[in-house]
Symmetry: none
Subunit: 155 residues, 2 copies
């Protein structure tokens, strides 16, 4: 693994798995010490790798007995999950968030790796040769349509 953030990401995902695949609760300072980094690096890891788009929910509490709890979004109902993603996409979506959503669909086994790559290619910045407000709108349109198709072809 190439850098601290990736390592911590893997570690946290492992913790989630080990505890039944749903949730994990950590002490920020404790993890930071374990990996010998500053505490705020945990915030960075969470902000870049455990977002809604990735399919996670994060709660936390400060002060004595504080914690950070990462919960994996329920994906038992595919249609619910995909509807959730469509809501996140809305009328516009950045490339970064699109990537996260596509990755989440792959990790939740709604699409294959090849399908993920195809969808990614279709919504890349260089592919959609458009200026900025429109590009994000178009990307959202494509993604929503693609998700609809995925939804159908699941049945």
């Amino acid at each position: 693994m190439r850098n601290m953030s990736d390592i911590i990401e893997q570690y946290l995902k492992q913790l989630i798995q080990d505890s039944g695949g749903e949730v994990v609760e950590i002490k920020r300072a404790h993890i930071a010490e374990k990996f010998d980094c500053v505490p705020s690096q945990l915030n960075y890891v969470i902000k870049t790798r455990f977002t809604n788009e990735h399919g996670y929910t994060v709660e936390s509490k400060r002060g004595g007995g504080g914690y950070i709890r990462i919960t994996k979004v329920e994906t038992h109902s595919k249609s619910e999950y995909l509807a959730h993603l469509k809501r996140l996409i809305g009328d516009g979506v950045s490339e970064q968030n699109a990537n996260r959503i596509i990755q989440s669909m792959f990790e939740n086994e709604v699409i294959t790796i090849k399908e993920a790559k195809i969808i990614n290619a279709a919504v890349e910045r260089e592919t959609l040769m458009l200026e900025l407000p429109y590009r994000d709108t178009l990307r959202a349109s494509i993604l929503r349509r693609v998700i609809d198709v995925i939804l159908y072809s699941e049945e």
Copy 2:
């Protein structure tokens, strides 16, 4: 050996062979130092000798822990077929022709039915909310990129 670019090309190909013939991951700056050249020369080598057409795919990441990964892809007659489709697409393609091309890929077993549906959804008229000369241009751009991905995401 004639020049630095050729030498680096050979070196990288050797690395791929040594590691099982599939893939190699490098640090740009490290290779540049080894051959005493500027880092951007690596980009030149990659752009001129490790393209899709050459049968390679390249991924990279910037920032701490960054890397460049070159993967060799099997290239039989399929690449010829897909290159042909890309030529057909050119700078613009109607929805009808796009449908035909997608259908053809399915019939030739380069994509699954689900992949076909996904690609179709991505290039539909209603998805690409654009007026006519631009819509066909955009559709072509998406299709060409997707075909590139299909070309190298074969495992």
